[in-house]
Amino acid sequence: MKITLKVWRQKDANSKGAFKTYEHSHVSQDMSFLEMLDVLNNELVQKGEESIAFDHDCREGICGMCSLYINGRPHGPLQTTTCQLHMRSFKDGETITIEPWRAKAFPVVKDLVVDRSAFDRIQRAGGYVSVNTGGVPDANEIAIPKKIADEAFDAATCIGCGACVAACKNASAMLFVSAKVSQFALLPQGQPERKERVEKMVAQMDDEGFGACTNTKACEAECPKGISVANIARMNREYFSAITSSYEVMAKGGGD
């Protein structure tokens, strides 16, 4: 396969970036998208040019590290992570545009690498449960209906990759935040912090400068884990009920 790549190159967070075009002729349709970039980077290094920086880690579709906005869609044309995307999803001779996630809260570090620590700060603001000390409780002591356990698990499969923010026309993080709120709000273990959690996480989300949801559902369509927008409705319910009924409120972002 021969492809043309238009890649966003940016020296660092303070520099101005621009697209650079690369002709890539050593592409097999069995390569993953990241392997294709690896081969290109090898060629660039051999030519004495600087390689293209992009995020990646497990390459198994579970860590949420790989990003890339490919031809106008986060993680490219398939609803998966970029590491699980293969070149057979593209046509021979195709021009592929690769951009970093674009969001004020996700500043570009270099080339295609963005800083997603805004998500970590939202998690720190409320995405935890109290763990009590004491004797070891019996297994299955806390009864949880199967359907609820499934829903909590589905929400918990969010890998925090940021595709929802990248896909959203408003760069809204509500799918991510709602998944993190939901996974605890549904379970008995999440009840002690239930109200303050949603208030703090939403406050932190707004502090980070993410946009507001307009229910286009692009996030759900692009989420590699298929997180449902039903979680956003749940977060809204949780938030409205918490803010009208909670007592001690620290609604300023709890992170740093």
Binding site: T97, T216, N236
Partner: protein
């Protein structure tokens, strides 16, 4: 009172106001349509004139009308605030390539659709509402009572081709706005459950087609028949 400020300056609180005002305006549309359909009655406009006189003089309706104007302005104001914030959230560098494959067109263009509706609203209010309240209206008499003849004013405008075309075009914009807005407001209120999602979607799609179509049918009917 801090929590109220927190609520209404948060993204979720602003969305809540958008949804609630939007739902009120949906109710208003339904009531307005029922009134307008009397234009099609073959009675020389009597039913419509009597109805319009009631709507513009009844004190209770006047209070609701003030509320309606307030909600329209609030809906517009918050949408502007949210749109500015949302654009800022994307950052200074914007995407060079975007794809429309993962969402429907109307959901991404509520601002454009809303602006068309606003332009229509201004023209509409100037021609009918302002004339009815402040203009020099012709009068008709039914059973000894004098009424302002809004019917002939409407009939006069609905005989103007560009006005009918504008009206129909704007009703299409209303339809697309509602196609997304109706169901979206319930999602924002947190009402999303397999038990009733089907009902909301069905009602939303039906409303967004039937109501603007009937609104548009009135000038078409009066123009051609």
């Amino acid at each position: 009172m801090n929590w109220l400020i927190t609520l209404f300056t948060s993204t979720l609180g602003r969305k809540l106001l958008m949804a609630l005002t939007g739902l009120f305006l949906i109710l208003f549309l339904a009531v307005h349509l029922i009134g307008n359909l009397q234009l099609l009655k073959d009675d020389g406009g009597r039913a419509f004139n009597v109805y319009a006189e009631f709507m513009s003089t009844n004190p209770l309706i006047q209070i609701v009308s003030k509320g309606n104007f307030f909600f329209i302005l609030l809906h517009i104001f918050i949408s502007i605030v949210l749109t500015i914030k949302n654009r800022q959230a994307r950052g200074t560098d914007r995407y060079a390539v975007t794809s429309g494959k993962s969402s429907i067109w109307s959901s991404r263009n509520m601002g454009i659709l809303g602006t068309i509706v606003l332009v229509f609203l201004v023209v509409h209010l100037k021609h009918f509402w302002a004339e009815m309240h402040f203009g020099d209206m012709p009068k008709v008499t039914y059973d000894g009572t004098e009424y302002r003849d809004i019917y002939s004013l409407v009939a006069q405008w609905f005989a103007v081709p560009w006005y009918v075309a504008l009206y129909v075009f704007c009703m299409a914009a209303v339809g697309f706005h509602l196609w997304h807005g109706f169901a979206s407001s319930f999602q924002t209120l947190g009402l999303n459950h397999p038990k009733y999602n089907g009902i909301i979607n069905f009602l939303g799609k039906t409303f967004s087609v039937v109501v603007p179509a009937l609104f548009a049918w009135i000038p078409i009917n009066m123009f051609f028949f």
